[in-house]
Amino acid sequence: MDQENNSRREFLLGGLLAVSLAAGCNSNKDVFEDAAGEVKPSGKKVKLLSVDGDVIEVDEAFLKPVPHMPPVSNTEARKGIPGKKFVMVIDLSRCKNLKKCQEACNHAHELNPGENWVKVDPMQEAEFTAPYWEPTICMHCDEPPCVKVCPVDATFKREDGIVAIDSDRCIGCRFCMAACPYSARVFNWSEPEISPAVAAQPYSIETSVPQKKGTVGKCDFCADMTREGMLPHCVSACPNGVFAFGDINEDSVSNGTETFRFSDLIKDKAGYRLMEDLGTKPSVYYLPPVGRNFPYESGLENDKIQNK
């Protein structure tokens, strides 16, 4: 019974399903579909009701239940998504040190306590310059010093700009940690405190789960989320919209609620990158902490929990 089958399946949500339907109906190829993999018509049709009250037939393949995309192969994960180049914009004028980004990231990647891939640092360069809270993540540099020094290709730069880590290859020499000037990398000094079920999963480069003892970890721009056309966890988790993520090849970044034209945003708000003089060419841009509507001190209370 179609009804029964439909109800037992889990459908793709939102855009992906709509898009694949739309793609099935028009011949427009959407960028995600390329990423999701070619959805080939199976030949079997399903009858559905249209908004006009007509019964239409849609190929079953487009309704295929894929609760989550299956993890891509190691080779695919090392290559990345061609044609994209991910970029992050962090608006320092909005950060209040709520650390919701950190919570979401740690939860999504099952990190040990004390291992934060997102750190929110109190910054004040000189006596009279502005104090502000600066969230730092891996910068996914275009000329990454960490990748240059890795002896076994355990960390590598993908075509879509993401610098990823293969925890099955890493020998734990920690040269990448010494080489990174942004202190973006953390090390799994002990056995990760994760459930045995999660620990038994095969390691996926795109989810960076499960972390392994004796290997390095860092922000991965949530490669699995971006492959499905969703925003990384830190971006969605921030209530102030500090993080805006997007594709520089589409010239657009979004923090979940607002979307900006990337080139205009950086030009208008004088965006910059950290430690530009080192020549690492990071993919994370910062917007200066001007025009804050709350004082820097409002973030101090929240800071005390981790930094006594």
């Binding site: 037992r8 399903l17 009701l49 009250g53 309704l63 993908r158």
Partner: protein
């Protein structure tokens, strides 16, 4: 009498004990679920529902996975059942309107969707509902101007609707970029909104095609509607990949030629000498074997 009294007190005690026991062994308070139904139509084709189930834990909402829900159209009877779904790990489930409820669907322009959860060991039963009126959205794009029209079904005709918030945007990765500075447009009496496309040279595909869209988000009456249109208003974009270049930060098979030359020549040179010296040792060994001593 004494015996009867004894039996009476005995039974009373037993019932008290039993109820006390059940009171203690009673399961902890069942959680409460909040069920939200969202209604979507894309490109005026097949409408579908996305049901989100959350529960409040420590004052924060958490998604709940594995909740079985029964979805109905207007009435919760077998004839108007839409689907039976189970929420995924994100606490969401989706379902499309099946042809079996066609009669009910066509009978009126306003519908209520019902989601029922019968309750299980952890959570008490819960219900959710959403009332929508059937609506359509159309888009026209010409001369760098985008116009969208919103029509709602009244009886059997589609009439334009006034005062609906519409977003006109360009589809991007995981988000939509507004076509100009105005975040939202509101339909006028003819149900139309219009905006100038200000995003010049926004990168499109290799031919410069971009996807325009007009969407209504979380409208109380009409739900979520979106319609797309592909136009060649974007800048031609052909990605240039440096992935296969030979650099110091490439993979092992793409190391710079100059580095390979230097390292290999040093290694071959020095190890060549070492191998020669080992062969030399073998010669010495041979000389030692042949000399008469």
């Amino acid at each position: 009498m004494k015996l009867l009294n004894k039996i009476f007190t005995g039974t009373l005690l037993l019932t008290l004990l039993a109820s006390a026991a059940t009171a203690f062994s009673q399961t902890p308070e069942k959680g409460d679920l909040s069920i939200a139904i969202n209604y979507y139509i894309t490109n005026n084709r097949v409408p579908y529902l996305v049901v989100k189930v959350k529960t409040k834990v420590d004052g924060r909402f958490k998604n709940v996975a594995g909740i079985p829900l029964k979805l109905y159209l207007d009435k919760d009877s077998v004839g108007t059942s839409i689907a039976k779904v189970i929420t995924n790990e994100r606490g969401e489930a989706s379902a499309m309107i099946p042809p079996s409820v066609r009669k009910e669907w066509n009978s009126q322009s306003k519908h209520t969707f019902l989601a029922n959860f019968d309750g299980d060991k952890k959570y008490s039963s819960a219900k959710g509902d959403l009332t929508v009126s059937r609506a359509k959205i159309l888009i026209v794009a010409a001369d760098k101007k985008v116009t969208a029209t919103v029509l709602a079904l009244k009886d059997t005709t589609w009439i334009p609707v006034k005062g609906v918030d519409v977003i006109l945007a360009v589809r991007r990765l995981a988000s939509d970029l507004n076509i100009n500075e105005t975040p939202t447009f509101t339909t006028d009496s003819t149900g139309k909104v219009s905006g100038d496309f200000k995003r010049d040279s926004i990168p499109g595909d290799a031919k410069g095609n971009i996807t325009l869209l007009a969407k209504i988000v979380d409208n109380d009456q009409y739900g979520n509607l979106v319609i797309e249109k592909s136009v060649p208003w974007g800048a031609k974009f052909i990605p240039v990949s440096t992935f296969n270049n030979r650099t110091l930060f490439a993979t092992r098979d793409k190391s710079p030629i100059w580095l390979l030359v230097i390292v290999y020549s040093i290694v071959i040179g020095v190890w060549g000498i070492l191998i020669m010296l080992v062969l030399n040792l073998l010669r010495i060994k041979k000389l030692g074997g042949s000399s008469a001593q």
